[in-house]
Symmetry: C2
Subunit: 418 residues, 2 copies
């Protein structure tokens, strides 16, 4: 069978599996997740053996040590995968919730009920744990999952998927509920991206290049974020030590994440009070600073930021600082350079707080809190499959609820259209 037919055949089975899966009871789904977790742990030795093949191939291809590290499965990571599945099992089942119901003048009741989306395609790279994490969230929300991992982790991903499919099927999951594309050829992913009859949504997980390739080639809706260029604006009326703590946390607590701050904007009226001590504290933490000419006047040892710096997601201990005349200048800067991901203001001025919340276009907007809090767990949504800056369906952390859709139900007693 050629690659296209192979992928289409898998798609058809996934659609059939998802139909069965949609009406499975919460108990069966949870049992499947628990059995999958146990099987992952029981299969640890086999997983590490298969993982070694990927690691050796990666070494032959001289992958960077960072990439090899992301690829590696050890006992701790295997146990975390299993634990993740158990945590998803413990979350409430989103399917079946009637979110609203109302009565019409003709007496019929109209309501909206939460249902699974259908089949979710996940396209990812490097980290094999995404196989189990994505499958867990999709199964719990009643969706079939169609997995396509990176070629560099093909043996690890296949081994994990086999364990999940086998354990899930014994616990009552329908055939096709979990599908793994094990063809490395690029034609496989290109076919998958046009399988709009069988896949309802694509979620790419990986670097910006992967996500751009997926978006440019998919006829299926893609929910994603390219990058996080996040700002914190310290207003004239900010509490100085709160501003320093929030900015320090947003940059330093975990700089490699998409919700870490890349640029700090400071009102000219408070810059003298906020910046010197903060710059000192950031320097001690090893943060490299790139600053505007006005900040440079405060400390002339600092490097001047180039235009491209305002546009860069560092994912590292590097921070831009810019002094602005007023909030409008901050808003314009965020509009120009921001990635609609996470944006914060520090202020005690109520009117400006409200204006910032209303005018800033981002998946999450913060008043007096660190952008690092933009996270499904921190927001109380449970586990998440990623953060979306897409403007339809779901923005922000995508948890179980965001992996569902709604259908209308109508309860009548003979109503017809007049």
């Amino acid at each position: 069978m050629d690659i296209k037919s192979n992928i289409e055949e898998k798609g058809k089975k996934a659609r059939e599996g998802a139909r069965r899966l949609a009406s499975l009871s919460t108990a069966v789904k949870n049992l499947a997740l628990m059995e999958m977790a146990d099987a992952i742990e029981a299969g640890a030795e086999g997983l590490k053996r298969e993982n070694q093949k990927d690691i050796k191939a990666g070494e032959v291809q001289s992958l960077s040590s960072a990439l090899i590290d992301r690829l590696t499965l050890n006992d701790k990571r295997i146990s975390e995968m299993a634990q993740g599945l158990r945590e998803v099992a413990a979350l409430p089942d989103p399917v079946g919730e009637v979110t609203r119901m109302w009565k019409r003048p003709n007496g019929m009741q109209v309501g909206k009920i939460r249902v699974p989306i259908g089949v979710i395609g996940i396209i990812y790279e490097s980290r094999p744990n995404v196989t189990a994490d994505s499958a867990g969230l999709c199964i719990k929300s009643g969706n079939g999952v169609f997995l396509r991992g990176g070629s560099e982790a093909i043996n690890s991903n296949k081994a994990i998927a086999e364990i999940l499919i086998d354990a899930g099927s014994k616990a009552g999951l329908p055939e096709g509920a979990i599908t793994m594309v094990d063809i490395v050829d690029r034609e496989a992913v290109m076919t998958m991206l046009r399988l709009d009859n069988y896949i309802d949504l694509i979620i790419p997980r990986g670097g910006e290049e992967l996500i751009r390739t997926v978006s440019a080639n998919s006829t299926i809706p893609v929910i994603k974020h390219y990058k996080g260029i996040c700002h914190t604006y310290v207003d004239e009326d900010a509490d100085v030590s709160m501003a320093q703590d929030i900015c320090f946390n947003a940059k330093v607590q975990r700089p490699g994440t998409c919700n870490a701050m890349e640029t700090m904007l400071v009102h000219k009226g408070i810059a003298d009070k906020v910046l010197p001590a903060l710059i000192e504290r950031l320097r001690k933490e090893g943060v490299e600073l790139r600053v505007c000419s006005r900040t440079h006047l405060i400390d002339s040892t600092l490097r001047l930021a180039a235009e491209e710096d305002w546009n860069t997601e560092y994912l590292a201990l590097i921070l831009n600082i810019k002094i602005v005349d007023d909030m409008d200048e901050a808003l314009r800067h965020i509009e120009t350079y921001g990635s609609q991901h996470s944006e914060a203001i520090v202020t005690n001025n109520h009117k400006r707080a409200m204006q910032f919340l209303s005018e800033v276009d981002a998946a999450a907007v913060f008043v007096n809190a660190s952008t690092r809090l933009h996270d499904g767990g921190q927001f109380g949504l449970g586990a998440e499959i990623g953060i979306s800056t897409t403007r339809i369906h779901a923005r922000g952390p995508m948890g179980l609820e965001e992996l569902t859709s709604m259908k209308f139900i109508v309860l009548g007693d003979g109503q017809v259209r007049e």
Copy 2:
């Protein structure tokens, strides 16, 4: 300027316009809609003149009289366009609603607030009124609208758009809020469908062929429905006269619509009671019947349905009838031939009503009501831009709320990530 650059330039301006539009007050948006309505009426003579050019061109190209009719603007239709804009002005503004807000253990408040999607692309054919209807709904929900009508109505659409843009701009709408693609060349629409930086959502309005072309070529999410092959299942425990009334209404009240019934499924235990009188009534109304072999035993003058009939959206006074052994057979038939649009059961059996609601996968599922009620107005949602069977973002009637998205807002007092 070449076509691609021209469309990209328009896209960029639409994005900028939509940013301004997103924070306009309800009062300004409503004023703009009212002014647009007045201007449409005031410009009636000019509109009819431009419309004549399209009609003459259509006659030269020998368009069908049905198509010419859909193309035609007369005083009544022009006044309906204006009235539609006024009705949208009278609907509540969906933007700014905080749908939920909750407190986290660290004291921060996390909420979701309704915001416009951004820029909505509308691709449509024939009916020039879609220009005004779509623009009205998009403007009210704070979205920029990027219109591309059919070449057969280009003069009419341009004239309507010019009036809307001019009146809207005088009332305070930003430049770029309403954009009309006036290039007939196919390259224009193909460029538009890949403008994912500037357009957030595509809604095609027209025949199945148009919608399939749009879906196959768009890298922007498309919300649509291809067709409505809608069923009514009359259960063994149905009230006979209610079943007859609902089925008659679902077929006859307006057969050319997507939510009209194309196939009636009847339990074998009630077929003798329901069918003869209903068949008589449908015949009197001029309905052509295509039936299964068991129905044929009841009335041997009826034509036997061919396999393709079960798969056809007639949009006409033609109805398939099939007698089934039980509800499972009905559910399997709906799964095989249905279009996930509108599906109904008539029954007094509570358990089967609940099972039907839960298992049938469609944008709207009805118990004891006509599928013709699947409509934004009937559901109480106000005006709609179409019905969606897409499985993400919005299913069913797309009203103002479905033209919005959500963003997270976080109100803190110094919270950082531990």
